[in-house]
């Protein structure tokens, strides 16, 4: 039944329908929904035909009734299958950034606005490499919204756009498949793949000194002594005043900030390799929650911390050399 699976594409191509420009959301208007019988549907049609022939041959009045009833069920199913899809609102959202090599998960919202519950909708990316989920069927109750995930492999860093989607259904009896192809505008930032075993950060030439420092020299206050605190940090004067063992707290100075610079990695490595190494270092620094700055051609980010900062830096690496 391979040709049958290809038929929808061929038909859409033949009909030469102008592609709808991508937008974040789409309503499956009636002219955007196609419908064709499935293999099971054709088999059923053959069954009806055979029953009809048998009825004619043996003069079975009830056989006629049965074959016509089955034909009627077929027609009703056609309408119901079409109805199951037509009028659906589909919206795709930008996916959370991923690292190159892991699939991006786009969330697709399916919303019913026409007051009819929809069942067993199937959402798939029409891309060759698009991995399909184990259970890609979605039910959308009347006037409600449901989500499904579309996973798309991210083979290269940069910006990944959501490939064309096919929303289809065979509910209620599997005799027909209604489908609609959608180009939804949704993107996903693909960070470079982090290098698996990079050299330690401190060994990189050109980095600011003192990056391994865990405490600053600026007095920031006192706290209760915890076993293991360095004796040099114990507030001996406070002990003398009789307030017990307390430890002096210090805070890191802005001077201890780390700069990740392009020229410190690039001459030795190819571009992609360098980006992978920087990615790994950024991740390591983010895990330790340390402030760092990024200096690559086309992007200079002042030292900072936090998820937004990390994301901005990784974005800069993702789009390195690719910017619009």
């Amino acid at each position: 039944m391979n040709w049958l699976a290809k038929l929808p594409d061929a038909l859409a191509h033949r009909l030469g329908r102008a592609p709808v420009p991508p937008s974040a959301n789409a309503r499956l208007t009636r002219e955007r929904v196609y419908i064709l019988p499935t293999a099971a549907g054709l088999l059923s049609a053959l069954t009806v035909l055979l029953i009809l022939l048998a009825s004619i041959n043996y003069g079975l009045g009830l056989g006629f009734a049965l074959s016509f009833l089955l034909a009627g069920i077929g027609v009703v199913t056609l309408v119901l299958t079409y109805r199951n899809l037509a009028g659906l609102h589909v919206r795709a959202c930008d996916a959370a950034p991923v690292f190159c090599g892991t699939p991006a998960a786009f969330i697709v919202d399916l919303h019913d606005g026409s007051g009819a519950a929809r069942h067993a909708l199937e959402v798939r990316a029409r891309l060759q490499g698009a991995a399909s989920l184990a259970d890609p069927y979605v039910d959308v109750p009347a006037h409600a919204e449901r989500q499904c995930l579309v996973r798309v492999d991210a083979p290269a860093r940069g910006t990944l756009t959501l490939p064309a989607l096919r929303v289809s259904t065979t509910f209620p009896l599997g005799l027909f498949r209604a489908w609609s192809d959608l180009d939804l505008a949704a993107r996903c930032t693909v960070y470079p793949r982090p290098e698996p075993r990079p050299p330690p950060l401190a060994s990189a030439p050109g980095l600011a000194p003192g990056i391994a420092r865990t405490s600053g020299d600026d007095f920031a206050g006192l706290r209760d002594y915890v076993p293991g605190d360095a004796p040099a940090h114990i507030a001996w004067t406070a002990l003398a005043r009789g307030s017990g063992l307390v430890t002096r707290r210090f805070q890191a100075e802005p001077a201890g900030q780390i700069w990740l610079r392009w020229h410190s990695v690039s001459p030795q490595l190819e571009t992609e390799q360098a980006l992978m190494r920087l990615t790994r270092w950024i991740l390591d620094l983010a895990t330790e929650d340390r402030a760092f700055g990024l200096d690559v051609p086309g992007c200079l980010r002042a030292p900072g911390r936090g998820r937004a900062h990390v994301h901005a830096c990784l974005c800069a690496l993702a789009c390195f050399g690719r910017r619009q």
Binding site: C93, D94, A95, C188, T189, G306, A308, H311
Partner: protein
């Protein structure tokens, strides 16, 4: 109050609107009237920013701290001062600079020669309203001193914990992070502000009035406190009693769930932010004279409550945050 006038003018309040929210105690009716006086008074100073002013008041009524962020010169400090003065609370101001020390905020213990012991000299934080100007110009250390006070409503100096007065509000102003010489507030500390308001440039009419009118500083001096601490506490109590129906909570949850979805924001709204959102919406409803929260209230306060907490992933352009929040609202249908 243009919005509110058209609403109350056309939707005659049914039983249980204004009466329920404002007539609980004999003095509460008075406090409501005084509140609207205060509002009018602020609007006389800060021209053409009714919406922002109302948001500020809602923030105060919800018992939260307020962050006003915008480029210099659009009237952040004026708004903060007008608010502080009109509310009639004790008021302190700190200008944050890069050499500000934590002790300058919370106070220090000094050795008293006379008594031969240490005496605590309270810092400016011991006020009912603390105006922290240009908070992002101070070092993180000084910032965190203030932010701890905001969260705990108490300060600990030399191992001794001292409570701050009731009510206690911080109204902070800051310049956008892109300005030079700033230390951006970390996310965890931004979260302590209930709302962040952006003022924006005044419209032509307001600007003309500004050009015509007298010096704002003179006008400011003439402001009286229209409310008292007791009024504020009573109003806060009333706000807490504003009814939020199941249908509304469904809506809030749908909205919040949408922010937590990967792809749009770096991180979604936390449960604490959700509670704050509802509280702010309650205050907004109260300012509208309603005894219950509507989805519109949520939509109105959402940019203020969520703006500084939601970092769009694709932060391109100045208005990215604002746009993504209005897109968010448009995506969630009402139940």
């Amino acid at each position: 109050m243009a919005d509110e006038v058209s609403l109350t003018g056309q939707l005659a309040p049914g039983p249980g609107h204004r009466s329920r929210s404002r007539a609980d105690t004999p003095e509460s009716g008075g406090s409501a009237a005084r509140l609207s006086h205060a509002l009018a008074q602020i609007n006389d100073i800060v021209l053409g920013k009714e919406r922002q002013v109302k948001l500020c008041l809602a923030c105060i009524l919800a018992g939260g701290h307020l962050l006003i962020e915008d480029v210099p010169g659009v009237g952040k400090t004026t708004l903060a001062q007008a608010l502080a003065r009109s509310l009639g609370l004790s008021f302190q101001r700190i200008q944050f600079t890069s050499d500000l020390l934590p002790a300058d905020v919370v106070g220090v213990s000094i050795f008293d020669q006379l008594s031969g012991g240490f005496r605590f000299r309270p810092g400016p934080v011991f006020a009912q309203i603390l105006l922290a100007d240009e908070i992002n110009r101070a070092t993180p250390k000084a910032q965190s001193a203030l932010l701890e006070a905001m969260e705990e409503r108490q300060v600990t100096v030399d191992g001794e914990t001292r409570a701050l007065p009731e009510p206690f509000f911080v109204i902070a102003t800051q310049n956008p992070a892109t300005q030079a010489g700033t230390f951006a507030l970390p996310e965890s500390q931004l979260d302590r502000f209930l709302m962040r308001i952006q003022l924006g440039y005044p419209d032509a009419r307001a600007e003309r009035a500004l050009l015509r009118g007298e010096d704002r500083r003179d006008a400011m001096r003439r402001l009286h406190g229209r409310l008292s601490a007791a009024d504020i506490l009573a109003l806060q109590r009333q706000v807490r009693e504003i009814h939020a129906s199941e249908a509304l909570l469904d809506y809030v949850q749908a909205l919040v769930a949408r922010t937590r979805r990967p792809g749009r924001f770096v991180a979604g709204l936390s449960p604490r932010s959700t509670v704050n959102l509802l509280q702010a919406a309650r205050a907004w409803a109260h300012l509208d004279g309603r005894g219950f929260v509507l989805p519109e209230d949520i939509q109105n306060v959402l940019p203020g409550v969520a703006g500084h907490r939601l970092q769009p992933i694709d932060a391109t352009g100045e208005r990215a945050q604002e746009e993504s929040i209005s897109a968010l609202i448009a995506e969630v249908p009402l139940p």
